[in-house]
Amino acid sequence: MKLAITGTGAVSSAGWGVAALMDALASGKTPEPSLLDRTGGETLIRTPVLRVPTEGATTPKFARLRRTSPISKFAAAAAVEALGESRMAAIAAGELRVGVIFTLLNGCVNYSNRFFGEVLTDPAMASPILFPETVFNAPSSHLSAMIGSHAPNDSLIADSTGFFSGIDLAAEWIQRGEVDGCLVVASEEIDWLSAEGLCLYSKNYLPSEGAGAIYLEAADGPVRLLHLPDPVSFSGYSRIEAAVKIRERLNVENDGHALLIDGRVDIARFDLPETKAWSDWSGPRWSPRVTLGEAMGASTALQIVAAVEALKAGGFQKAVVTATGGNQQATGVLLGR
């Protein structure tokens, strides 16, 4: 069965929408970081971060989103952009069965932070409004409710490579005939707690946030899913071995024409697996995290959105997207026109 990515959506530190993402990648210019202050604790610590700008927000109008934190708002905006108006109408009319797969690493850190702070202060006063939003699958529940879909909905926790597992599962659902199409979304938000956490790995990390979404369906274009090999687990291989193995499994021709979009962040020790695995790559190579910061699972989704848009623009026949996660697996996908 031929599967194609026929819709994309993005929210990133470059702004709301796919156009803002592609403009930023074309310019290669990193947005101006802001400083994120601790809201608790005894010491003032400021972490440089790349936030999603508040201006130009395209958060859909939907009652449930009023009380959510940014992770759900980013996800909803990216999802609506990926689906487009006509599909939204078809779902509402019961003419289109759309599954939802949501992938994440961090989850709703803002409300978890606030709720647990309240629990430690006085559990009797901890807000019952906050707690449900801390559950990992709250954002994906909002997505299904927003589009009015009763089709299966799964949330997958993973390292930053989870979006690939989401596409794999979506392909499975479509091939099985369980859904007509599938929305795959990854979204992440930051707060001071998670930003400091990321910077414990390296002070050179620039924590970021955002969301990426694709719509996958049985179709012959414009951008086809050609090959999505099994991820290589770190339970059996080192990060470098896993990245090398993924390249072998992708079996992509190094003819100088295909576009490589990798997961490097410009920190040598974290980039080492992909640097080594693709050292002889002769084609063009993009590393969106270097420009847009580290938004974990959302960054990987944005890599794929960028690959789809690059293929649609006509400059390339094929694009290979790779990511080597922090503590789970190495992954990759081959897309083509």
């Binding site: 608790g40 604790g41 629990v119 529940s141 009763h150 299966p152 596409i167 090999p229 789970q328 697996q329």
Partner: protein, 416 residues
């Protein structure tokens, strides 16, 4: 599991069996202890000692008696020390399932459901971050080991399981979804063997969250399907199964525990935390699972219900069972084993699958305990005491926050 546009899709759907099961619950640390407990109709609630509950409305839960010492089946002291409480529960159950299936690992997929994951480590990170000078090394270790995929990758390494890892977090349906995913992978020929299950450990944030929602029974004693039920009790535990093609089980000459006949999943978009009062999505999952298995409701010998003991869940599930069974509803035997163990959240669906398999294997029905007067919605046969019975097919329901609904059907080998 890989996708390639050149590969044809297999149209031959294969029989899927369970060849190993493992369980850790407040009732006991292995299958034998759990079987004895459910057969005896025992309850397993005790005061919570893992964190401070002095300012909560409720102070009890189904807490597992888990030793600090590493188990003696090859897990190093260091690896055990790095595991969070939930992963320790998971590794014990997974190891038991693999041992029964005579499985030593290999390139098999691991599919796991969890809701809270390693939250207690996240709680420690948060508390330490608020003090003046937290130790950087300790905090980095906490950030790293807080992540569910790190914990499950470590567990896979210890078990010798090197295939792809998929972690599903659909709240309280997660464990059932994990087994359902494994079923589909094997059924479609994308995998021969999958290790699947679910786990969750008690933690302060989630305990306080359910308390804040006033979802916990103030007495600490849940009474699913009782007319005056007043909430759930939380618990912790893990359940794992080895899901395998019947052909693979035959070729390995391993004993088959049961067949997995069907899996249904649907999404209830009524409300983030409240099911549709008529149980619309639950009805869909039960109907679709029965259609997949080619079964009529009266052919189901027992339903292990989601049955949390909250007013809203039990009425919705009861209505769904009534609508699904129609005139046969009086013959449908139903119980909620959460009345004995508490609600194991992300582990519930997997643990209750193992309890369902236990009912098939041992030919008895575990009970809904603590029912004084059954709710009017119980037009079905509510099993209030453990009961010997001929059990050929079992259906288990799992419903979660966010509207994740799942139904699994198991049958004795050859019943399909």
């Amino acid at each position: 599991m890989a996708y390639s546009s050149d590969s044809p899709i297999s149209q031959n759907l294969r029989p899927v069996v369970v060849t190993g099961m493992g369980i850790v619950s407040p009732m006991g640390r292995d299958l034998a202890e759990n079987t004895a407990g459910f057969r005896a109709g025992r309850m397993a609630f005790s005061p919570v000692t893992l964190f401070d509950v002095s300012r909560q409305r409720v102070g009890t839960a189904g807490q597992v008696d888990l030793p600090d010492r590493a188990p003696d089946f090859g897990i190093s002291k260091k690896a055990w020390g790095r595991m969070d409480r939930g992963t320790r529960l998971a590794v014990l159950a997974a190891r038991e399932a693999m041992a029964e299936a005579a499985l030593c690992g290999g390139e098999i997929p691991l599919i796991v459901g969890t809701s809270a994951a390693a939250m207690p480590i996240g709680e420690d990170y948060f508390k330490a971050a608020l003090v003046n000078t937290p130790d950087r090394h300790t905090q980095l270790r906490r950030v790293e080991t807080y992540q569910a995929q790190r914990q499950m990758t470590d567990m896979a390494r210890e078990l010798g399981v090197h295939g792809p890892l998929r972690i599903i977090s659909n709240a309280c349906a997660s464990g059932a979804n994990a087994i359902g995913h494994a079923f589909h992978l094997v059924r479609s020929g994308r995998a021969e063997i999958v290790l699947a299950g679910g786990y969750d450990a008690l933690c302060q944030l989630v305990f306080a969250g359910f308390d804040a929602l006033q979802a916990l029974s103030p007495s600490g004693i849940p009474r699913p399907f009782d007319a005056a039920r007043d909430g759930l009790a939380l618990g912790e535990g893990a359940g794992f199964v080895v899901v395998e093609s019947a052909a693979s089980a035959r070729s390995r000459s391993v004993k088959v525990i049961a067949e997995i006949l069907a899996y249904g999943a649907a999404t209830d978009v009524h409300h983030l935390t409240q099911p549709h009062p008529l149980g619309d999505a639950a009805l869909v999952t039960m109907q679709s699972a029965c259609a997949m298995a080619g079964l009529a409701p009266e052919q189901i010998d027992y339903i292990n219900s989601h049955g949390t003991g909250t007013p809203l869940n039990d009425i919705a599930e009861g209505n769904a069972i009534q609508r699904w069974a129609g005139d046969a509803v009086g013959k449908i035997k139903v119980s909620s084993t959460k009345s004995a163990t508490g609600h194991l959240l992300g582990g519930a669906g997997a643990v209750e699958s193992v309890i369902s398999l236990m009912a098939l294997k041992e030919q008895f029905l575990p009970a809904s305990l603590n029912v004084r007067e059954a709710d009017a919605v119980c037009s079905f046969d509510l099993v209030r005491e453990p009961r010997e019975a001929e059990v050929r097919r079992v259906l288990t329901n799992s419903f979660g926050f966010g509207g994740a609904n799942a139904t699994l059907i198991f049958g004795k080998e050859g019943i399909a």
